[in-house]
Symmetry: C2
């Protein structure tokens, strides 16, 4: 039976790219393999970006080579442009995760081009593999402030026209609240593709936002094991919502994720050991059961 | 204009009682005074319990003596029994916070008596000041596991009969999910008194639960500045949800709390300095504004 929601762990990519510690490709591949072993249907394994700009993501091809494919798991890589797409296309990754931002300033800083130019890049890449597109700063931008849902929705429509088969709204700096999530998701019914959210727990609203998104029709949830990573715009802040925290929520709500929660907690424990510190995730530290 | 929700900071009590560091009464009074200065309508300042059992709460009367009363703020103390009530009655605190547990095992361990005996204690104390009663482990017990909403609701009804003018459902070990909150709150409409929640963020569900509780009719929210305190049943876990995280949620939702969020963040920063470590609260570390 298919799970009610599809959780994609982006820890090997969005989590690790915000860590001060740079991990070797074989360790990053082991993280991907451990995650795939917990029943997660999707893992974002790598990012095809400049190793100079993001040394944590260097040697993506080496990471992919270290993946021991698990049955039923879709492995993806992140790309920002056609150049990144070409690198991905030379691997056997299953899916393309393309990203751009909802605001001009953020997109210029992150992808070094205008939003229009990013949409054109997406339109230009071959559609040989499923393409999911995530829209950064959908709920607020560190440079431009609050982002209007109507702006994000118009962009989402253009992205679907350009070939996106899934749209993920990212709260990149973790400022959103359920009201915004509901407003935005309410407008996505006519997109005609599955929609999801990529939530950061920077201001402790990620679990509430995930639940609001689920109730508003989102089926895709991107998160990082252990709540890995930080926030480049707030040095003391935490990053992605922890995958096991989301799985705990969904389990309690009776919503099937297909993920083995205890197995996932084990991966968080292992990763905390690799990084030599406690991770921000709460469920892995507290344990998942009520009585002890 | 009255705020839409009433937030009571229980940091000086529930927060500090779970800290390894024992603070002097004058520091605890300063915490109470700083909290009252942020516009919080209620502060739970002390607990009248055995100083041998809970050294962090010793010399409650000294703390009360150090309170510089702020206009419009109701100051309360926690009591478990008639003996504690007599100590509170000798002070000028405005409100009584009485607590007992939803399960026999937890109540025996915490209050050293049966649930029936605790209800009888409540019935026996004079009703000279408003009495709010919180029911510990309303969503799950570390000894007895899942707690049925019907059990908690029957207890709440008996407490109202015994003189409770407000009922607060406490997720003492932080295991609840929105579904449980909705189930429980749905059944409280006939209680005839204001109801609230006291949420711990042990498994990252507290903000989602608070939002669910608000939408289900709860008007009272107990939380601790900075997410102070730990969880005695899970050594690495966090405790009370951070008050400023709740205020951030409510502000984003357009729900008035009457609290100055930046002022509250300042109190969390001050307290982190006093305790010499980062606190678990997320908003105070990330900052409350979107753009910077």
């Amino acid at each position: 039976m298919a799970a009610a929601v599809t959780i994609c762990d982006v820890g090997p990519r969005d989590g690790l790219q915000n860590e001060a510690t740079v991990l070797e490709p074989f360790v990053r591949a082991e993280l991907v393999n451990r995650l795939a072993g917990t029943g997660l249907p999707k893992v974002e394994a790598v990012s095809f970006v400049s190793a100079e700009r993001v040394p944590q993501m260097a040697e993506a091809e080496e990471v992919v080579a270290g993946i021991e494919r698990a049955e039923g798991v879709a492995y993806s890589g992140l790309v920002l442009n056609e150049k990144g797409y070409r690198r991905l296309a030379a691997t056997d990754l299953d899916e393309v995760h393309f990203t751009l931002a909802a605001t001009e300033t953020f997109n210029e800083r992150n992808a070094n081009r205008s939003v229009d130019a990013s949409v054109a890049e997406l339109a230009g890449v071959p559609k040989e593999r499923p393409i999911s597109v995530s829209i950064s700063v959908s709920f607020g931008c560190p440079f431009e402030g609050v982002v209007e849902p109507s702006t994000v929705l118009r962009l989402a429509e253009r992205l679907v026209e350009a070939g996106a088969e899934e749209i993920v709204f990212a709260d990149t700096i973790g400022v959103g609240v359920p009201k915004q999530v509901r407003q935005l998701l309410h407008g996505t019914k006519s997109l005609g593709v599955p929609v999801g959210v990529h939530l950061h727990d920077t201001r402790n609203t990620a679990v509430a936002n995930a639940f609001a998104a689920f109730e508003a029709g989102a089926t895709v949830f991107e998160s990082s094991v252990g709540g890995l990573g930080g926030c480049p715009f707030a040095p003391r802040a935490t990053g992605n919502v922890a995958t096991e925290d989301l799985v705990y929520l969904f389990r309690g709500e009776g919503i099937d994720t297909g993920v083995d929660l205890d197995g996932l907690i084990g991966v968080a424990e292992w990763l905390a050991g690799v990084l030599g510190r406690d991770l921000p995730g709460r469920v892995y530290r507290a344990g998942a059961s009520v009585a002890r």
